[in-house]
Amino acid sequence: MRRPDDTELLRLHANLVAANPTASAEIAEILYEWLMRRLKAAVPYASTEDVADVAADALVRYLANPDRFRPERGMGLAGFLLMDARGDLLNLLDSKRPQHRPTPLSDAVADQLEDRNIRSMTQERMLERLPSQLDERVLALLPDQRDRGILELMMDGVRDSDAYAALMGLRERSRDIQAREVKRAKDRIRARLKRGGIRRD
């Protein structure tokens, strides 16, 4: 299933903000099924019922209060709702699990990622919560979830190597090793995308 067209969604979002009566239905039509599929792919151990309920909650919350989405922040509506719903889904699953307290990230990493609302998370949780901005072609070239997470940080312009080191599970290693491994991972991803015919400007 292709990622919804961000330009079209932006137009519908503007209509929704302007109180157009059908924009909410048009947005739901485009995004609900896509949201469910992406949530299920991102958190495969979640039940279909939980995924459907969480996707519905996120979508209706947005439709009722569209100002929650701020296009000027640079993230598309589909990515915004996916991130919102993914957070809810993980919280829901957490509430059903035996208690588990994640190791908090360093302040530097948390600051980098504050807009993503993913403070206080382990490496695994970060990987699950990263918004998916990647299209199907890129996903096919990067089957590894960690590589996808690294690419998403690169696409968001994150420069602090702490964020990458946290994603890669290198937080306990020395700065030199972190820098070397992060660079190696980024180069490897760039090369793989280039070989696959994908260029980033």
Binding site: P21, T22, A28
Partner: protein, 117 residues
């Protein structure tokens, strides 16, 4: 619940039923208070069940722009604007009565009238 649970959009419609700005909540009122379920709405508006689901996800008309909004919504759903407006006014009346706690009294009065006849 106004729309069948077998559709994949059922969780979305169910959630939307709790949102007062959307048609889903008005359709839920019509279902609960008048017994107008998805099938009845579909017949009344002469549209498919899918169109009723799309209607449920539309925003209700704004006061001051009711005619325009109802017209646009009717076009989107593919129904007659007069039928849609009638349904909307019935739903609103039921909501207002429910808010004032008058529905039960009216129903009791109606039942009493029927019994007297």
């Amino acid at each position: 619940m106004v729309v069948s649970d077998v559709t994949s959009r059922a969780p979305l419609i169910r959630r939307a039923s709790a949102e007062p700005s959307l048609w889903a909540s008005l359709l839920a009122t019509l279902d609960q208070r008048e017994g107008l379920d998805s099938g009845a709405i579909s017949s009344r508006l002469q549209v498919t069940p899918d169109a009723v689901e799309r209607l449920a996800l539309c925003r209700r008309p704004r006061s001051g722009s009711e005619a325009d909004d109802l017209g646009e919504t009717a076009r989107y759903v593919g129904t007659n604007v007069v039928e849609l407006a009638t349904l909307y006014r019935l739903g609103r009346a039921l909501e207002i009565l429910a808010d004032s706690g008058a529905t039960t009294g009216l129903r009791q009065a109606a039942r009493k009238r029927e019994g007297d006849e």
